[in-house]
């Protein structure tokens, strides 16, 4: 029996990671869930948040945005719109994005800018996830 599981994170801009890891923790539809080697086949939607993977006793964090994940044959594949390693996250930029999104949310009137609002909310979520992932990494 394998003791490790193959982790793949794929975005429209290419594969971000392809590695053997000990454990993966991801923000699933119903909450954060963990995946160990030899997990049963699973298909789940993924929310914006932090993907944590453990390898050689070390935790690494990655910020991922929405998508889904598939587990089969001791391989877990995340198909997400964007992914960023915790170490690559530009904290200043994320902070600025957060402020910008908050400002826009405060200004947007309920009805008339529904799309802008949704966009700002998504941006805010992403910024928060980035900050969190960066924080976890440190």
């Amino acid at each position: 029996m394998a003791t490790q599981i193959q982790l793949e994170v794929v975005t429209p801009k290419g594969a971000v990671i392809s590695e053997q890891v000990d454990m993966v923790t991801a923000p699933g539809y119903a909450g954060v869930f963990g995946i160990l080697a030899n997990h049963a086949p699973l298909l789940s939607t993924i929310k914006v948040g932090s993907l944590v993977y453990k390898k050689d006793g070390r935790d690494d964090v990655m910020m991922i945005s929405g998508g889904f994940c598939e587990v089969s044959n001791n391989k877990v594949t995340f198909l997400v719109e964007s992914a960023e390693r915790g170490t690559d996250i530009d904290i200043d930029r994320a902070l600025r994005a957060k402020e910008r999104a908050e400002k826009r949310l405060a200004e947007a009137t309920a009805q008339q800018e529904k799309i802008d609002r949704a966009r700002a909310e998504a941006a805010l979520q992403r910024a928060l996830a980035r900050l969190k992932a960066a924080g976890q990494q440190a």
Binding site: K13, A15, G28, P41, L43, S44, T45, F68, E70
Partner: protein
């Protein structure tokens, strides 16, 4: 015979044009490389996505999803994807002609057609037709899933509201650097993905745990599937555009060089004719003095 000076100016002008076309050719070549790389990068995502869709729809065959609903087709929406800029040979013309044909055919069948124009050239072409429902100019240069999502979700909303019973996409498919052809595909309603015979026999139909239920995942996946399709088409168009421009500019540079050669010939002939004329005069004058 044109005067010497005229020919010289002309040669200078053509030379400058050839410099520009050569530069554009090189820029297009560089951009093509980028666009092709992006297509390569996107491939694994699209493949994995389709695999998952196959997997899912195998289990949800019976269920009904609004985005898969097949209706009587009375109104058709055509999404025409072209480039934003011209000077790329007949690339956009071909797409637009294919689009015109499709419009005529559909209207011939008594269907109402509305257009969604992605890229400036499509919008400019159909501007006066009064059929444009939505256009997205100046969007091809930025490669963001975000743009594709906006377009796809808008099309989906239009489909769901019943304003369009079918959405088709016409775009420029990138076959190779030398060949780009307009192609058409159905975007909506989404057709159930049949698992190909070979794969079904593979016996990899393990029992999956679905979280949330299969149906709910499908609800999330279907809109994403549209994004993927539109994004893919946009990538193809952008790669095709640069390839077409590269070829067009290469041809233009060659035409310039031919022209310069011919003009130089004319220039030399004219000059020689002038010299001969002058010599004749001198000789004639000397003869007369004898």
């Amino acid at each position: 015979m044109p005067s010497l000076k005229e020919v010289k100016t002309k040669i200078g002008g053509v030379k400058k044009t050839s410099q520009i076309t050569r530069a554009m050719n090189m820029v297009a070549a560089a951009k093509l490389r980028g666009a092709q790389a992006r297509m390569e990068d996107f491939r694994p995502y699209a493949e994995q996505f389709n695999a998952a869709m196959r997997n899912l729809s195998a289990g949800t065959g019976g269920a009904n999803f609004p985005l898969m609903e097949v209706r009587d087709v009375r109104t058709v929406e055509l999404m025409v994807i072209t480039s934003d800029r011209g000077l790329c040979g007949s690339f956009n013309t071909h797409i637009l002609r294919a689009a015109e044909k499709a419009v005529n055919r559909l209207e011939g069948e008594g269907k109402k057609v509305s257009l969604v124009c992605v890229g400036k050239k499509a919008r400019n072409h159909f501007r006066r037709s009064g059929k444009i429902r939505q256009s997205y100019p100046d969007i091809m240069g930025t490669f963001q899933m975000f743009n594709a999502r906006t377009i796809a979700q808008d099309a989906a909303a239009n489909f769901l509201s019943g304003d369009a019973d079918e959405v088709r996409v016409i775009y420029g498919r990138f076959h190779s650097v030398a060949v780009q052809r307009p192609e058409e595909f159905d975007l909506l309603p989404v057709k159930p993905v049949e698992s190909s015979a070979g794969e079904a026999g593979g016996g990899s139909q393990a029992v999956y745990i679905y979280e949330p239920s299969q149906e709910e995942i499908m609800e999330v996946l279907l809109p994403m599937y549209l994004n993927v399709m539109v994004y893919h088409a946009m990538l193809e168009v952008s790669a095709s555009e640069h390839a077409a421009r590269m070829t067009a500019m290469d041809n233009a540079t060659r035409a310039c060089n031919d022209m310069i050669e011919n003009l130089t010939l004319v220039y030399n002939k004219t000059r020689q004719a002038g010299i001969t004329g002058e010599l004749m005069d001198i000789v004639g004058g000397a003869e007369a003095l004898k």
